[in-house]
């Protein structure tokens, strides 16, 4: 009974440098990976949400391949992300619904990858304005990102988190002085990275 092994090379990847930590606060994302590991390879988005589309087509993420959840989450994961997480280097980033984040992050764990949730967004469907929360849930660092262009700011933040060798406070730009309560109204999206 020899059986067939399914490849799992996570630690081989890790040997080149630590990727992302789970802690959602960006300083904890500080990673010292190689440039290839710090590159955003895929951007996962959901074309059914304007905010997600805007995030994905931001020029800062133009180098990454875009994967649309609306075309089928299972297929996206199996055909693209499984091979990438098996052998590849580079980050998968996304702005999607929370269930999509939940599904993909759990699947990433199966391949010893490290998911990190950067921010949660409670979006008012009428205006596109959103309340945002960054940081780990228990710490609840609240931030308010004024204006409906917040997806673009998240794209920049993701890029900063991925690329900055120091990664110090890469979400700070999202938090103007004023902060708002996370209202739990409208619909909910998440910005995330999986290394």
């Amino acid at each position: 009974m020899d059986g067939e092994w399914l490849r799992l090379d996570r630690r081989g990847v890790l040997a080149g440098g630590t990727m992302l930590s789970l802690a959602a606060a960006c300083p904890a994302l500080a990673a010292v990976g190689t440039p290839a590991e710090r590159t955003i390879r895929y951007v996962v988005f959901d074309s059914r949400f304007r905010e997600s589309r805007e995030f994905a087509r931001h020029p800062a993420l133009a180098h990454a391949e875009r994967l649309d959840v609306a075309a089928g989450l299972t297929r996206l994961w199996q055909d693209r992300l499984v091979p990438h997480w098996r052998d590849g280097t580079g980050i998968v980033a996304g702005l999607t619904t929370r269930p999509v984040w939940d599904g993909l992050s759990q699947q990433a764990l199966h391949q010893f990858r490290r998911p990190a949730k950067l921010a949660l967004h409670s979006v008012d469907p009428a205006t596109g304005l959103a309340a945002h929360r960054t940081g780990a849930a228990a710490r609840g660092s609240l931030a308010d990102c004024a204006g409906a262009d917040w997806p673009a700011r998240m794209a920049l933040a993701v890029t900063a988190c991925a690329a900055s060798p120091s990664r110090a406070d890469c979400l700070a730009g999202l938090a103007p002085a004023a902060s708002a309560r996370f209202r739990g109204e409208g619909f909910h999206l998440a910005t995330w990275m999986i290394g």
Binding site: G3, L6, A15, S21, G103, Q106, Q107
Partner: protein, 558 residues
């Protein structure tokens, strides 16, 4: 590195060194960032000291490495906590029952040992997920079906050991019952094979369950007596065709005969698929696909009169609501049955079921689905709920309390899952008791609870009984989560008062549930403890799992 309770830093460091010697340094995890991944993603205790944490994790790739880890742990007295893939979400995830245990992560043990589409079985290691085996079967063109749970990302071994269930024919839905043969590493590092696996030259390990002598397989499910490293599973031969038929009943009292029909046709073996009950009139679930659609899109939009009638119903009933349903041809109850087999057999089974139901339920109507032949295609085209034809999918992931349709944004959920009698009286009594509790007991008031109102219909996974599954969302507010934990404990207590015990429960409630199975001064638990002390005298294997504690922690850790 924080050592397990009662273990000195020096001893722990020595154990970690030994683990690394067994599996290689790359597969021993001690950093905070790595250990975060082994916390319960859905824990209601997040942010509190009670939240379970691992002190380290180690990922062996072979049974020999598992043996090495267990032996090292025995030498140093290190508590271990074995997980297959750790995807038991909603029931505790990969977090250890005893905080500070070293998680033995079996994901690297992911060999598909054998799949036979002649004798229809598979033998796999714990790290093989349903997706893995499904893809393997597809790639090799094998003519067998899997039975997958929701959403199919977990381990076959882990799910079966936790008494998980699936969505195809009844012979395969009960995943532990569908297993045949296992390999187990015992607490002293010895390897045991059950069934025909105990006979070195046997070729029937995954074909004949009983072997010879006492059948011990059950000792390793929902327990901590060994680490299961291989299991055989019986698979369904790929059927020529499959279809779903719906029985519709228009009167409230039809519930009785509908359930009697369900039992008769299922236990007779002519309706092998999952019997899914629903109530279009009450806007309550039904087949799983409809249920999932509701989670994604929110509850069905009913006109005001209809919604008001539902709101005014008591235990799901009012004469006006029943009249409204009859006038508008909205069934009070539905029963979805799925059939698998040759086209002729599928057609004959459905025809027979209609005859039986028509004789029992005056005015029953029937709706036949399309006869389908290609499971993958049917799943992709959403002609059928994929899991009902053995196809795992991630789309289902929003199941529970996390989807867009849910007004209460959540970061997780927990399932309260008592076993109730398979009868209309059982359904009505469970609704009455839990609804009343939710209305009158302070700790249950004002908490979002999924699947209770306006009327809860049971899950049909197991034969002969119903599961009355209620869900609690886990949110970011620690105070709400604290209230949810208290409410959950109250439901366990209420259920036990009525003889309804959980078939499975999140880790943090396992002691309470085990204590509810208390016949004859907890004789069953005391038997478990006797076994534990005999098989694992140092108590290193998964202390506390399913409420079974080793002697030295029995009084202090519970």
């Amino acid at each position: 590195m924080t050592p397990p309770p009662g273990i000195s830093p020096a001893t722990f460091a020595a154990a970690i060194e030994e683990f690394a010697g067994v599996v290689g340094k790359a597969w021993v995890f001690t950093s905070d960032a790595d250990l975060e991944l082994y916390r319960d993603a859905y824990s209601p205790l997040r942010g509190s000291d009670e939240d379970r944490r691992a002190s380290a994790a180690v990922a062996p790739a072979s049974v020999e490495e598992v043996q090495g880890i267990v032996r090292a742990a025995n030498r140093h007295g290190i508590p271990l906590y074995a997980i297959s893939t750790g995807r038991n979400l909603g029931y505790g995830g990969s977090a250890p029952a005893y905080s500070g245990s070293v998680v033995v992560d079996l994901k690297r043990m992911n060999r598909i040992i054998e799949v036979s589409d002649s004798n229809h079985y598979a033998i796999v290691e714990p790290g093989v997920s349903y997706f893995d085996l499904y893809n393997h079967i597809q790639e090799k063109g094998l003519k067998v079906w899997l039975d997958v749970p929701d959403p199919g990302w977990g381990s076959l071994v882990g799910n079966a050991l936790d008494h998980g269930v699936g969505h195809t024919a009844s012979r395969f839905r009960n995943h532990f019952d569908a297993h045949c043969g296992m390999e187990v590493v015992l607490a002293d590092g010895e390897v045991l094979r059950t069934g025909m696996g105990a006979m070195p030259k046997a070729k029937t390990w995954a074909q004949y369950k009983n072997g010879y002598g006492p059948i011990v397989d059950g000792l390793f499910s929902q327990s901590n007596f060994g680490i299961v490293t291989k299991m055989g599973f019986w698979l369904m031969p790929e059927p020529e065709a499959f279809m779903t038929g719906v029985i519709q009943a228009s009167r409230y009292d039809d519930l009785h005969q509908l359930v009697e029909t369900l039992k008769y046709v299922e236990n007779l073996g002519i309706a092998p698929g999952p019997p899914e009950m629903g109530s279009p009139l009450l806007g309550a679930g039904g087949d799983t696909k409809t249920l999932v659609d509701m989670f994604f899109s929110g509850p069905p939009r009913l006109d005001k009169q209809h919604a008001d009638l539902i709101a005014g119903a008591r235990l799901g009933y009012s004469a006006d609501l029943e009249r409204y349903g009859i006038d508008n041809r909205i069934p009070y109850w539905t029963l979805n049955l799925t059939f698998y087999g040759p086209r002729k057999v599928v057609a004959a089974q459905w025809e027979a079921v209609q005859d039986i139901a028509a004789a029992r339920i005056p005015g029953a109507t029937f709706k036949a689905g399309k006869v389908l032949t290609n499971a993958r295609e049917a799943a992709e085209q959403q002609q059928i709920y994929p899991q009902n034809v053995g196809v795992p999918n991630l789309e289902f992931f929003a199941f529970g309390t996390r989807a867009g349709g849910n007004p209460h944004p959540a970061r997780g959920h927990m399932w309260f899952s008592p076993v109730i009698p398979q009868s209309a009286e059982g359904i009505l009594e469970a609704n009455r008791v839990f609804d009343e509790a939710a209305r009158t007991i302070p700790v249950l008031k004002n908490l979002p609870m999924f699947n209770l109102r306006p009327f809860s219909l049971p899950s049909p996974f197991y034969e002969r009984t119903f599961l009355f599954i209620l869900g609690f969302p886990i949110v970011d507010d620690p105070e709400v989560n604290k209230a949810v934990v208290a409410a959950f404990r109250e439901l366990i207590r209420i259920g036990a008062d009525h003889g309804w015990g959980e078939y499975r429960t999140p880790t943090i409630f396992q002691d309470q549930v085990m204590n509810a199975y208390s016949y004859n001064d907890n004789a069953l638990l005391r038997f478990h403890q006797t076994m534990k002390d005999a098989l694992d005298p140092k108590g290193i294997l998964s202390p506390g799992r399913y409420g079974i504690w080793p002697r030295h922690l029995r009084e202090t850790a519970r």
